[in-house]
């Protein structure tokens, strides 16, 4: 069985579905062209193969035929006209679709090598794992993504939800999705963006309306503050972590790396580089290159005790 996880032929959203419809149309036409032309080629090769009986004699010398040339010029032109018309409709339908005011706005910012998601309507900032609500046709709530880049080019691609759109510095791109079922959809950065382009993975969690509301409520909270992890918090605040990371409600307000306020609500770390377990978190904090060589997070040379404290602090960020 072919996994459907990232297949473009297992759509779960309108843009992806209209692309599949168009692709079947194009595949059918190109398939017919292939069968016809390949059959003619095979026929010519078999039928007009040289035989021993030819014995050096030459076949009739034919130089061309205006009628035939005309035929095989006009027919392809007609096919092209049909393909152009069908394609133009889909371009228009996807790119120029009006969005209802109820749409959820998310700003996606590409970084080397992770994703930042900001929800201006909800006041949420998170990373690498996008949460969006299921779109209910009765009360449409599609998600409109505004795509920006903090450094190099990236490309946002969840094959089951939509085609890809690039994130380019100094440029504002937009795309939209309206997922029709709950579930986790995966993809990854599609535009080469530097050393760790391969481990810039992307997860989209499509939640039911209730789940999404619950998730956004919990994300709006400031970071949990527990006196039990005060050692780890001190390491975090003194080891330069706060220069790049934000933990809302604390002194940490860096924007170079992912917002860690609710780190434990995410299933992975390092933009999908590893599962979010205490063990891999510890490996990551000790030496990011062990998981993602070339990642921009430096190894802070922490002692084992500091690492343990820091991991405990991270674990408290629910």
């Amino acid at each position: 069985m072919i996994p459907e996880l990232t297949s473009i032929f297992a759509p779960a959203s309108t843009p992806a579905r209209s692309i599949v419809d168009l692709s079947f149309f194009v595949l059918t036409i190109t398939g017919i062209i292939f069968v016809v032309v390949a059959a003619l080629l095979v026929y010519a090769i078999v039928k007009f193969r040289g035989r021993a009986s030819d014995a050096g004699s030459e076949p009739p010398q034919v130089y061309g035929s205006t009628q035939i040339e005309l035929a095989w010029t006009v027919v392809p032109i007609l096919i092209v006209v049909i393909l152009v018309a069908a394609t133009a409709r889909v371009i228009h339908a996807i790119q120029d679709a009006p969005q209802p005011p109820s749409a959820l706005e998310v700003t996606v910012i590409g970084h080397q090598f992770w994703w930042e998601f900001r929800y201006p309507q909800l006041g949420i900032v998170t990373a690498n794992e996008l949460h969006v609500p299921v779109n209910d046709p009765a009360r449409p709530r599609p998600t409109v993504l505004t795509l920006l880049s903090a450094d190099t080019d990236h490309s946002f691609w969840i094959p089951q939800l939509a085609g890809k759109t690039d994130l380019i510095p100094n440029r504002i791109n937009r795309m939209w999705i309206d997922p029709d079922r709950a579930g986790v959809f995966v993809g990854q950065c599609a535009q080469y963006c530097g050393t760790q382009h391969a481990k810039m993975l992307l997860r989209v969690s499509v939640d039911s309306a209730e789940d999404f509301d619950a998730w956004s409520k919990s994300q709006q909270q400031a970071a949990a503050d527990s006196s039990a992890v005060v050692d780890g918090r001190r390491v975090f605040e003194t080891a330069a972590c706060i220069n790049c990371h934000t933990v809302r409600g604390t002194a940490a307000n860096g924007r170079f790396g992912p917002d860690l306020t609710h780190l434990m609500s995410r299933a992975t770390i390092a933009s999908g580089g590893a599962d979010n377990t205490p063990e891999s978190l510890r490996v990551w904090l000790r030496d990011p290159d062990a998981i993602k060589p070339g990642s921009l997070m430096p190894a802070m040379k922490l002692s084992d005790a500091e690492l343990d404290a820091l991991v405990r602090y991270m674990q408290s960020l629910r």
Partner: protein, 557 residues
């Protein structure tokens, strides 16, 4: 005194010393020798870039493999792409053009022999400049670093912030200098074809190869110029504080994309048109018929040249152009399929009613037709912009352009090698090794590139050094890597054939294929002056007229 006598004696023997031979080759301005230098140089880089491809395929054998680091992998695909385009495909095609065009139009040399040598040495130097980066391109990391920006070198990856050190400058300089070489070679070809044709050879009687090289050279003039301009702008960004592409200072990343692809797409046709030229010479000879619809073939070629200048942004369907721009480039891209289709039909028409001889050149030509057909049809799929939003930047694209470049261009080049090797060396390539090479390469090609389409449809992006298991990519990548090894073996057979046949091959004589164009009227290899007396032609197939004085072509044209 005695030694002088000895030296005099040495100079008078028939066999020159190796120093004299080397000197003669390095200082040559003979179009045939320069052509061969181009070809040998390109074959060397073909092997190097092939090894880079193998490194990538070993790394991608299985998910989370760690054969090479991401840094090395990124250098490998950058060098593989850059080398294959600028230091294999371009020089080898100029090499064939250099060798064949004067012979086929009845000229004794190119229009500007010294410029010709200059073009070659520019290309040669630029290739070595690029590879010197492995030693001298040290960035901040100590050891040599080849460029790792991809062969498109998209801004702002090439900005100082993201490419410290000088590795990407080696890329820039190499591409810039090889671009000058290509422009000079194109000027030379145009001048030669326009001015040096033998008496009787009107434009309408030129071999199609000359027409196609003329078109290709004009495209080089138009296509390479923006690339060179962009390289200069990039250098200004990096060293003079300009901000063309430096996004951190307000520069534009998409500007680079436009500059690159307004070169990059015509470039595809610059590479494939000479291959159409080989097909248009080889298919008629082995079908024993003249090319079907010569004027239409010329018109279709010129039409491709024009239309292909306005399709570049189909490489940029995902950068967020508005729906009107996307529609425009979708239309032009689909339109270019029409003249390309006409060419395939005309080759079919040439074979139709012929007596096809399945010699090795024709085998490669037939495989070219099928593979180029598929490449064209996957091209139509990606021209449908929304479909491309899914396919672009995925392995589907990698499969598509390797279908064009390997399945099309390289197969056509192999056909050309088997066809013209006897003319160049006076010896036939071994048919037996040729057949082995052909079948191994067909097998390796399809095992490598057919499954890549499916990897793309299953969402695998290109340019990733590792991938996640469980997405349906594992088995595909394993198969692809096996195919790459088979291709490598086939190339080895080819190289062995080239070397062995040079000494052991059967004598070719003037005209082993019973062909019709002027290069087959002179000895193999041709004398330095090509033609003892300049020929006069009366039709597109002068040797047909000679062989069939009772029924010459000139009666029908």
């Amino acid at each position: 005194m005695a030694s002088d006598v000895m030296a005099m004696h040495g100079a008078q023997t028939d066999r020159p010393t190796w120093v004299e031979t080397l000197h003669a080759w390095v200082t040559t301005v003979d179009h045939k020798r320069i052509g061969l230098l181009y070809i040998l140089y390109a074959l060397l880089f073909l092997v190097i870039a092939g090894i880079e491809a193998l490194v990538m395929r070993i790394q991608l054998l299985s998910a989370h493999n760690d054969f090479v680091s991401p840094q090395v992998f990124n250098q490998m695909f950058t060098m593989h792409g850059t080398t294959m385009i600028f230091f294999v495909a371009m020089p080898i095609l100029f090499g064939f053009g250099n060798y064949l065009v004067p012979l086929m139009i009845g000229a004794r040399d190119m229009a500007f022999p010294r410029l010709n040598a200059f073009s070659f040495w520019l290309s040669a130097v630029s290739g070595f400049v690029l590879y010197f980066s492995f030693l001298g391109g040290s960035g901040l990391y100590g050891a040599g670093t080849a460029p790792d920006v991809g062969w498109w070198a998209y801004a702002p990856l090439t900005a100082r912030a993201f490419s410290p050190g000088s590795s990407s400058d080696y890329w820039t300089i190499a591409v810039l200098v090889s671009g000058f070489g290509s422009v000079a070679a194109a000027v030379n070809l145009i001048a030669t074809i326009v001015c040096m044709r033998c008496p009787g050879m009107t434009l309408g009687r030129m071999p199609l190869l000359a027409w196609l090289y003329l078109t290709m050279s004009l495209m080089v003039l138009i296509g390479l110029t923006p690339l060179s301009a962009a390289q200069l702008m990039l250098l200004a960004d990096r060293y003079l504080g300009a901000h063309f592409f430096d996004t951190q200072a307000g520069g534009s990343a998409t500007l680079w994309m436009h500059f690159f692809w307004i070169f990059g797409h015509p470039e595809v046709y610059i590479l494939i048109i000479p291959c159409f030229a080989f097909m248009s010479e080889i298919i008629p000879v082995f079908s024993r018929k003249p090319i079907f619809g010569y004027p239409v073939m010329v018109a279709a070629t010129v039409c491709i040249a024009f239309v292909s200048m306005s399709v570049w942004a189909h490489h940029m369907f995902t950068v967020g152009m508005n729906s009107y721009a996307n529609t425009f480039f979708m239309i032009t891209t689909m339109a270019v399929g029409v003249p390309t289709g006409i060419k395939i039909f005309n080759w079919l028409g040439t074979m139709w009613g012929g007596r096809i001889q399945f010699k090795t050149p024709m085998l490669f030509a037939i495989a070219f037709l099928f593979q180029f057909l598929i490449a064209g049809l996957t091209g139509i799929m990606m021209a449908a912009a929304p479909f491309d939003w899914q396919l672009s930047l995925s392995y589907f694209v990698v499969a598509h352009f390797h279908y064009v470049i390997v399945g099309g261009i390289l197969f056509a080049l192999f056909a050309a090698f088997y066809y013209w090797y006897p003319k160049v060396t006076g010896r036939m390539l071994s048919e037996r090794l040729g057949q082995l090479h052909f079948w191994l390469f067909v097998l390796g090609f399809h095992i490598t590139f057919d499954p890549m389409h499916f990897a793309g449809l299953l969402g695998m992006p290109r340019r990733i050094y590792t991938y996640e298991p469980g997405r349906g990519w594992d088995a595909i990548n394993l198969i692809v890597s096996i195919g790459a090894v088979i291709q490598a073996v086939a190339i080895l057979v080819f190289v062995v054939n080239l070397i062995l046949s040079y000494w052991k091959g059967a004598r070719a004589g003037k005209d082993p294929w019973d062909a019709w164009t002027l290069e087959w009227s002179v000895s193999s290899p041709p004398p330095a002056y090509n033609f003892a007396s300049i020929p006069t032609v009366a039709s597109r197939r002068p040797l047909w007229d000679v062989k069939h004085p009772d029924d010459p072509d000139s009666r029908y044209e």
